[in-house]
């Protein structure tokens, strides 16, 4: 028998002192998540290229001037697809990938190590921040070069963009983590996650301009973050004259901040209440 087999509070206390910190491990996990993400080509295409392809299709098919708004339909699609892109890289990507990780028992294995749970979630946040930013940059490049969208020139508007991006991304990421607990298996995750996302895109003004969606549908869409992300990004990237297309004839930045902020809090509570490290058959 050697010294390594001793037990007791003294060893325990020594080990506790030297346990690696949650923040540092979160960074490590983030780097690992990003590496894994870009090595899975299907997932990159699915979450990443989808909004770009859709922007190209919709903005090229519908390109007429919008009456009295001083913009073209193509210009409307640029912020819309940016919002959808943010939701795709956060909500859809996390909802599916965490469900698969749970089903394949990657989560259970992590739980069996001394890794603090917070590091896992920090890693996911880093992944979503990087992919969400990249997605946004790509869509903006397409929008500015092909569809006459002008980048804001003042710092105030960029600041506005920053908080809409961060709040929207956070809310959608938390909802993605929450919905990952719904599918019974990794195989059913895609349909469980993609269907509500698709419906939301129709009733939040992503594919169809908000002034043509029936009010009752738009009101349902307004319960969720996507509608407000679209509206906020229109406010950032479209001229003031386009405000007349909005439901209330204004960008409503205050209300956007309120709804997205509420979803961040609500989404966090939902995650804390529902997150599981094992799937149902593992108890």
């Amino acid at each position: 028998m050697t010294m390594t087999t001793t037990t007791g509070p003294a060893t325990e206390a020594r080990a506790a002192q030297r346990l690696p910190g949650a923040w540092g491990l979160g960074l490590q996990r983030g780097a690992l998540e990003i590496k894994q993400f870009f090595r899975q080509r299907e997932q990159v295409v699915f979450t990443f290229a989808f909004p770009v392809v859709f922007l190209f299709l919709f903005a090229s098919i519908f390109s007429d001037d919008v009456q009295d708004a001083g913009i073209t339909a193509s210009q409307l699609y640029v912020p819309a697809m940016m919002a959808a892109g943010i939701m795709s890289t956060s909500f859809q990507s996390l909802g599916i990938s965490i469900a698969i990780e749970r089903d394949e028992r990657v989560l259970r294995r992590l739980r069996g190590t001394p890794m603090p749970p917070a590091s896992y979630f920090l890693g996911k946040i880093w992944l979503v921040l990087v992919t969400g930013l990249l997605e946004t940059v790509v869509l903006l490049l397409v929008g500015t070069t092909l569809y006459d969208v002008d980048l804001p020139t003042d710092a105030g508007t960029w600041l506005r963009f920053a908080w809409i991006f961060v709040l929207g991304l956070t809310a959608c990421a938390l909802l993605g983590i929450a919905i990952s607990s719904v599918p019974k298996s990794g195989k059913s995750a895609t349909s469980v996650v993609v269907l509500p996302f698709l419906v939301l895109q129709f009733i939040s003004g992503v594919y169809i301009a908000i002034d043509t969606i029936p009010d009752w549908m738009l009101n349902i869409g307004a319960l969720f973050p996507l509608k407000w992300m679209c509206q906020g990004l229109r406010g950032v990237f479209l001229p003031e004259s386009a405000q007349i297309l909005e439901q209330t004839g204004s960008w409503e930045f205050g209300r956007i901040a309120l709804v997205l902020g509420a979803w961040c809090v609500g989404g966090l509570l939902l995650c804390l209440l529902t997150f599981r490290w094992k799937n149902r058959r593992d108890g």
Binding site: T5, T7, L19, Q40, R111, K278
Partner: protein
């Protein structure tokens, strides 16, 4: 040697676990000493995995006292988790990462990890260190699982049916690895439904059936205690094969020698193998 050295690494008393109407674990007592390899042997569905999952801190229990390295696994802290290594029954590792990336990353979770390169060598994956996990064979993945189980330098290693699905050669290699870890002083709990595995590796073992421990002790002692009865087989003059179970085989053979007046045709005297004992204990005996 410290004051704690005689403390049991795993101490289980009256463990019970129920799934709905089914009692998976029905009052199990186990004591695993520091530094020993302990085998938990039993047929499928006997309650082995449930027991190990409770020891890992990954399943709740209905009743009983459980102490693993001095702590209750149900309230295991990070520090406690860093001292227990787990190799699951049905494992999965991130497919897109390489062996080296994965082992190195897992090393960061622990306060005093082993050297990743050394651990990769220990499980014999040096040549695969740069390969993506999705490109590994089943046996290689299992060795990676062991690497991730021992990377933190655990005092106790819990292995749940580690060699299920292995071919005989891979199983022998795996046994060598377990012996190496045991020689380093790691306490090892291993569940298996392969008797020869328990016999080859375990210093002591417990046989469980229907959620209860039906026998516990050293493999040889188990055989002796439950295997007094020998079987004498011979062939009668008319060619009929005969078989007799007896506690006194010598007397039987002496009588037969007198009767046949010399050589007994087809004589065979056998003691039950550990397998016979095991099958009898777990109620799976071949009726003959």
């Amino acid at each position: 040697m410290t004051a704690h050295a005689n403390e049991l690494a795993v101490d289980v008393r009256g463990l019970r676990k129920q799934y709905g109407d089914v009692t998976a674990v029905d009052g199990i007592d186990l004591g695993i000493r520091q530094g020993e390899v302990f085998g938990l042997l039993g047929p499928n569905g006997a309650g082995k995995s449930t027991t190990v999952e409770i020891l890992q801190g990954n399943r709740s229990r209905d009743a009983g006292e459980v102490s693993v390295l001095g702590s209750d696994p149900a309230t295991g802290t990070r520090a406690w988790r860093s001292r227990v290594g787990i190799v699951w029954q049905d494992e999965s590792a991130p497919a897109e990462l390489t062996v080296r990336e994965t082992v190195r990353h897992f090393a960061r979770y622990y306060p005093r990890p082993r050297d990743p390169e050394e651990v990769i060598g220990l499980v014999g994956l040096e040549e695969k260190a740069g390969s993506r996990i999705k490109a590994l064979s089943g046996g290689q993945r299992r060795r990676l699982d062991v690497a991730l189980g021992v990377i933190g330098g655990p005092e106790l290693l819990l292995l749940d049916e580690p060699t299920t699905g292995f071919d005989p050669a891979a199983r022998r290699q795996f046994w060598q690895l377990i012996r190496k870890l045991a020689d380093e002083g790691t306490t090892i709990l291993l569940t298996t439904h392969y008797l020869e595995e328990a016999e080859a590796l375990a210093h002591r073992l417990a046989v469980i059936a229907k959620g209860q421990v039906v026998a516990q002790g050293e493999p040889a002692a188990l055989r002796d205690r439950h295997g007094d009865e020998a079987t004498v087989e011979w062939t009668e003059s008319d060619g009929t094969p005969r078989r007799e179970r007896t506690d006194t085989p010598t007397r039987t053979v002496t009588e037969l020698t007198r009767r046949f007046d010399g050589e007994i045709p087809g004589l065979r005297v056998s003691r039950p193998t550990l397998e016979d004992v095991y099958l009898r204990l777990t109620g799976q005996e071949d009726p003959r």
